[in-house]
């Protein structure tokens, strides 16, 4: 049972990430692979905040959000100049830049050695030390982000995003300054990924730069492709499938040598088959 609780915590963290990424890729059509960078910044804000600055968990979340908003604002400005595949490659480049800063800025991030001993959230004296309590808190935040996603999806703001993802010029003629909309949704999704990073850091109690590489950005992109673009439920389902798939294979009892590689093969095959038979994912409402 404890095992499932742990899995559920990871599932809720990746649902937060998938929802925030779907806001950028699903709703506004901008294929950003830089999400892992904001996820990392949020995680490091909490790690450094709780270990060396002695801040509480929720203050570090605010700290992470402030840093992420500032960086996403600048990054959004740079990215706004590009379109489609250029946008994807430049965002991948930015993700590599942030990763190498996390790796090489040893004085602050302790470099490759990572940061250990990250505390648990404390609310009015009660420490979320037990996994089930931590899961409750994580699910609360996931639900909040889910509700925010649905709210945006239904609001006029969301309608403009879904319009500009297909025909930015026409949306412009309808009287919307599309540049601002794209940058606001980019900044918002960066802040939300930061929250997911904070939960990850506090759950694992140790983080190092290798988790926040470009590979993770591509993994997050795959989650919403499989789950379905521009759909809140799709993001959740995508996270569920891609988090539980390796676990299911772990119990199938494959021989050690090939277990790890076979998992990757099945994961790759899933991608190819999805793109052939169901390109917009299980619950997708937007075909790229």
């Amino acid at each position: 049972m404890e095992y499932l609780i742990n899995l559920a915590i990871l599932f809720s963290i990746y649902s937060m990430l998938a929802l925030s990424l779907n806001m950028v890729i699903g709703m506004s059509g901008l294929v950003s692979l830089a999400q892992a960078a904001f996820y990392g910044i949020g995680a490091y804000a909490t790690a450094i905040g709780m270990t060396s600055l002695g801040l509480g968990f929720f203050t570090t979340i605010l700290l992470g959000i402030v840093i992420n908003v500032a960086i996403a604002f600048v990054v959004g400005k740079i990215l706004a100049r590009f379109q489609y595949d250029y946008y994807a490659i430049v965002s991948a480049g930015l993700s590599v830049i942030v990763f190498s800063i996390l790796l090489n800025w040893k004085k602050v991030t302790n470099g490759a050695l990572g940061i250990y001993g990250i505390g648990k959230p404390v609310v009015a004296g009660y420490a979320f030390y037990s996994n089930s309590a931590f899961l409750g808190l994580a699910l609360l935040f996931t639900a909040a982000i889910f509700a925010l996603y649905v709210w945006i999806d239904r609001s006029s703001f969301g309608r403009v995003l879904k319009a500009l993802r297909e025909d930015e010029r026409l949306t412009h003629v309808m009287g919307y300054k599309t540049k601002y909309y794209k940058s606001v949704i980019f900044v918002l999704s960066a802040a939300l990924s930061g929250i997911a990073g904070a939960f990850f850091a506090s759950y694992i109690a140790f983080i190092d730069p290798t988790t926040f590489q470009l590979k993770e950005g591509i993994f997050l992109f795959t989650i919403i492709i499989v789950g379905g673009l521009s759909s809140a439920v799709g993001s959740i389902v995508g996270a569920l499938i891609l988090i539980s798939l390796p676990e299911v294979l772990r119990f199938v009892g494959l021989p050690y040598e090939i277990a790890a590689q076979l998992q990757q093969i099945i994961y790759g095959a899933l991608l190819v088959l999805m793109m052939i038979f169901k390109p917009q994912g299980f619950f997708g409402k937007f075909r790229m």
Binding site: W151, I152, R154, S155, S156, F157, R159, V160, K162, A163, E166, D167, R169, L170, T171, H172, V173, M174, G175, Y176, K177, T178, Y180, Y181, V184, K285, F286, R287
Partner: protein, 267 residues
């Protein structure tokens, strides 16, 4: 671009009661407009006026610059030189996202709609709040509901309201685009070949819609090749040829004009 200035942007309150706007004779004038594309002069030192509260037919052989002119007047293209005056505002160019503030609405030649959005969303797009914070907080759109129902009736899209635009036939797409135009309650309406590709009964439907607008004293500009429709609908005609003004005036006079016949019929 300061962060603050895009938060507190306000749009002027649009009152739909004003029937005929008490501006001067012409609602849009452009002087010495020029636009060149890769060596070809699409618009060559063009100066003309669009009469207010009248329907202007914009005609001319293919490639005469009709669509380019319309794109310039609606901000899609930046003219190389020249000035445009909309009511009392003088501009060297119009930004397409300011069309709302100028109360201008337009359709596109190829029936341009947002494919993967529902018909309703397509119709609500031009009227929803266009400030960031306003858009964020606006979920219920009941103050546009009545207008939406009316437009759905006029464009006979009532039972397609929840379908995605990509599921509509070509004719219905054109009607959806016109519906989007009607939603906007603008003063100046630009139609770019609204009739091409429509069945006869749909042509009648669009004519009724346009005459409805004419009764409200709106200014209308139509690009159309079908002379019969032009004569039937327009009070005023502008003829373009190779980006220059060939002739303008009352429909009968202009269509009899020798130069116009030559340019059109090569006779």
């Amino acid at each position: 671009m300061k962060l603050t200035d895009f938060i507190k942007k306000k749009t002027p309150k649009s009152d739909s009661s004003a029937k005929v706007l008490p501006y001067g004779e012409n609602i849009i004038t452009c002087t010495h407009l020029n636009k060149q594309f890769m060596g070809i002069k699409a618009i060559d030192d063009l100066s003309l006026q669009i009469p207010q509260a009248k329907t202007t037919g914009l005609i001319g052989p293919n490639g005469s610059g009709k669509t380019t002119l319309m794109n310039i007047l609606t901000g899609l293209i930046k003219p190389d030189s020249g000035k445009i005056t909309v009511r009392d505002k003088h501009r060297t160019r119009i930004k397409s996202n300011e069309l709302r503030t100028y109360r201008i609405a337009r359709t596109f030649q190829d029936g341009r709609v947002i494919e993967q959005l529902s018909v309703e969303d397509n119709l609500l797009l031009p009227v929803a709040k266009n400030t960031l914070w306003g858009g964020f907080t606006e979920i219920k759109t009941d103050d546009y509901q009545s207008r939406l129902e009316k437009v759905l009736d006029i464009t006979s899209l009532k039972d397609h309201r929840h379908k995605r635009a990509e599921e509509l036939s070509y004719g219905l797409r054109k009607l959806l685009e016109i519906g989007r135009l009607l939603m906007q309650d603008a003063d100046i309406y630009f139609f770019d070949e609204p009739f091409t590709g429509l069945f006869p009964e749909m042509v009648e439907q669009v004519c009724d819609i346009i005459s409805g607008l004419q009764k409200q004293g709106k200014t209308i500009v139509i690009i159309e090749h079908n002379m019969g429709l032009i004569k039937r609908l327009s009070d005023y005609i502008i003829v373009l040829d190779h980006g220059t003004l060939l002739a303008e005036g009352e429909p009968d006079a202009v269509l009899k004009n020798k130069k116009v016949r030559e340019a059109y019929l090569g006779v």
